[in-house]
């Protein structure tokens, strides 16, 4: 459905744009129809950048993005933009604090002229509120009067009104309590099953991704280092970074990672014990190891 083809993203700053941060380097990824894909990685690995590109909030520096056969490099066609919707970490940031929720929820319908009458609009909002399990009384309230979990569910309700085919969820539960997190994740699960939208779930919480996603990818230093079915990835991580990442999530002692400034070559080379000359000069591409499992490491499978 949505496909990234060798997408690059460079942020330039400083005098005469000389400082460059390579946020994404040659990322290729295909999201399938109706699937939940979990994107994991440390902060700064580029996972949110990829999400923002998927939403059309950023234009990649190079590479191509395709949706159902239409491809573009710079600006996303409007038709696609409407079909991909996002929810973010801070739900309060998604709502204008000075608008009541009745207006906030109806706004996308008004703006994109998706409904003909007021009655139709109000009915659509009510249906959505039921779906996310929130009382209609909230319509007369402001976002600040509700709890974080409620506002996040309302943010989800609002994007569902657009009937998206892909939802990009960028750390939607990081700020929430454990019990509220369970509510939001459960809701995402049901909504996905009912509406059959695809979901790109960005998070560094391994248990959450494991519970939710079918496939997952791990990013490091702007590159996708491993992609595969979640269960396979957890049971048999091949990339050395994935191994460290998953071990740390299980409270096992892991070595501390150095920040490497690696322009060419594998981003993990400074931390890797088995890096050879080829790792320094050329970044390993994602190669299949079995079935749907891909890994970007020359040593994949033989790493300890």
């Amino acid at each position: 459905m949505l496909e990234f083809r060798q997408v690059e993203m460079v942020f330039r700053s400083g005098r005469s744009r000389k400082k460059a941060v390579y946020a994404l380097r040659s990322v290729s990824l295909r999201l399938e129809e109706q699937e939940i894909f979990g994107l994991m990685g440390e902060s700064g690995s580029g996972k949110s950048t990829l999400g923002r590109i998927a939403l059309g909030l950023l234009a990649p520096s190079a590479g191509e993005i395709c949706w159902d056969g239409t491809c573009w490099t710079r600006s996303m066609p409007k038709k696609v933009r409407l079909a991909i919707q996002g929810i973010f970490q801070n739900p309060y940031g998604a709502f204008n604090p000075r608008h009541k929720l009745a207006y906030a929820l109806a706004e996308p319908l008004l703006k994109h002229r998706l409904v003909r009458s007021k009655e139709e609009r109000e009915a659509a909002v009510r249906v959505m509120l039921r779906r996310v399990n929130i009382d209609e009384g909230c319509l007369d309230k402001y976002p600040s009067q509700l709890s974080g979990g409620q506002v996040q569910r309302l943010a989800l309700a609002r994007i569902l009104l657009m009937q998206p085919r892909l939802i990009v969820a960028d750390e939607p539960t990081t700020m929430l309590d454990l019990s509220i997190q369970a509510q939001v994740i459960r809701l995402l699960q049901t909504v996905q099953q009912e509406t059959k939208t695809a979901l790109l779930f960005i998070s560094h919480d391994v248990p959450v991704v494991t519970a939710l996603a079918r496939r997952a990818g791990i990013m490091y230093g702007g590159r996708l280092v491993e992609v595969g079915l979640v269960d396979e990835l957890i049971a048999q991580p091949r990339h050395p970074y994935t191994q460290v990442f998953l071990a740390a999530a299980r409270e096992q002692t892991v070595p501390e990672l150095q920040q490497g400034e690696q322009k060419e070559g594998c981003p993990y080379v400074v931390n890797c014990r088995q890096a050879g000359a080829e790792c320094l000069s050329y970044a390993p591409p994602l190669r299949p190891v079995s079935g749907e499992h891909y890994v970007a490491c020359y040593w994949a499978g033989q790493c300890k």
Binding site: M175, D205, T210, E251
Partner: protein, 311 residues
């Protein structure tokens, strides 16, 4: 051994535009020297209020009842002024607002040490030593840098270094791993564990990361709406938690099936609940629980539960 910190029937009530908002209700806690206590609960449970009460940092409108004893002495404001930053330190939650953006890291760290009356040369040396201790890369470059040049994880480590610079006997850490990715979270947890146990310091870790509390602490205290509901040895938490709220929290973890707990959402209701605060949503509540609040029952060594059903 006498307790380092003893909290006796501590109640804190905030005043919100004339409305009384109970944040803590009759909390009893005891912390031995060198003990590491995890304070776990959800937003609004009173974890941060408890830490602020210990540090004497509650807002002006708050009413405090009960007593806090530090090394046997009742904490009063002149005593607190002497202890704060020396004997006990708070490592705050929000790393972004906790460093002054217009002063360099070196200046801010030195400010703390000026009061220790060390010569300048010694101070610089100590700062580098501290930065090395929290395993920051290239410590010699850091004193000259400003907070905006550092990442969140680095700032967290600098706050840790600042907190430990005067070797306090009690460290309160408020959500030190919030929002960190697994590798960095583990790095901070290991670092705190190592530093604190090396010096035999006591730690109060405020978190809602149950697994972090198990990793780092000896004892875990669970709070619900301003009350302690269970105190349990950390090694037993994941398997032998007894209070229905503890169980609900454990079951809500993604690896345990994401059960939606009956906790109720939003801030605690200011209306005083008669009986057990959890009885409103408790699945195993007895009629007696609604009338009278059960006391903390001892159910094993170091294990106490406030639940009428368990008794």
């Amino acid at each position: 051994m006498s307790a380092l910190l003893q909290i006796e029937r501590l109640s804190v009530t905030y005043n919100l535009n004339g409305r009384a908002l109970p944040a803590l209700q009759e909390v009893d806690l005891c912390l031995a020297p060198g003990e590491k206590l995890g304070l776990v609960g959800e937003s609004g449970a009173g974890k941060t209020t408890l830490a602020s009460a210990v540090m004497g940092l509650l807002p002006r409108g708050a009413t405090v009842k009960g007593a806090i004893l530090f090394k046997g002495q009742t904490l009063s404001s002149p005593l607190l002024a002497r202890l704060r930053g020396r004997e006990m330190v708070l490592i705050p939650q929000n790393v972004y607002n906790s460093l002054n953006p217009v002063f360099s890291i070196g200046q801010q760290m030195e400010d703390l040490l000026v009061k220790a009356q060390l010569p300048r040369q010694k101070r610089q040396q100590l700062i580098l030593e501290l930065l090395g201790k929290v395993r920051l890369p290239r410590p010699q470059e850091l004193p000259g840098s400003y907070p905006h040049q550092l990442s969140g994880g680095m700032k967290q480590r600098i706050l840790l270094a600042m907190g430990l610079s005067r070797s306090p006997s009690l460290v309160l850490a408020d959500e030190p791993t919030k929002g960190l990715d697994p590798v960095r979270r583990m790095g901070i947890l290991r670092l705190v564990k190592e530093l604190v146990s090396r010096n035999g310091q006591s730690l109060i870790l405020i978190t809602h990361d149950l697994k972090a509390a198990v990793y780092l602490c000896d004892t875990v205290a669970l709070m619900y709406r301003g009350e302690l509901v269970e105190i349990i040895p950390a090694s037993c938490l994941l398997t032998a938690g007894l209070h229905p709220y503890t169980r609900a929290l454990l079951a809500a973890a993604p690896e345990r099936g994401l059960a939606i707990p009956a906790c109720g959402e939003g801030p605690p209701s200011p209306a005083a609940v008669q009986g057990c605060p959890y009885s409103l949503v408790c699945p195993i509540c007895l009629p007696a629980c609604r009338k009278k609040k059960p006391p903390l029952f001892s159910v094993g060594p170091g294990h106490m539960v406030r639940c009428g059903k368990v008794a």
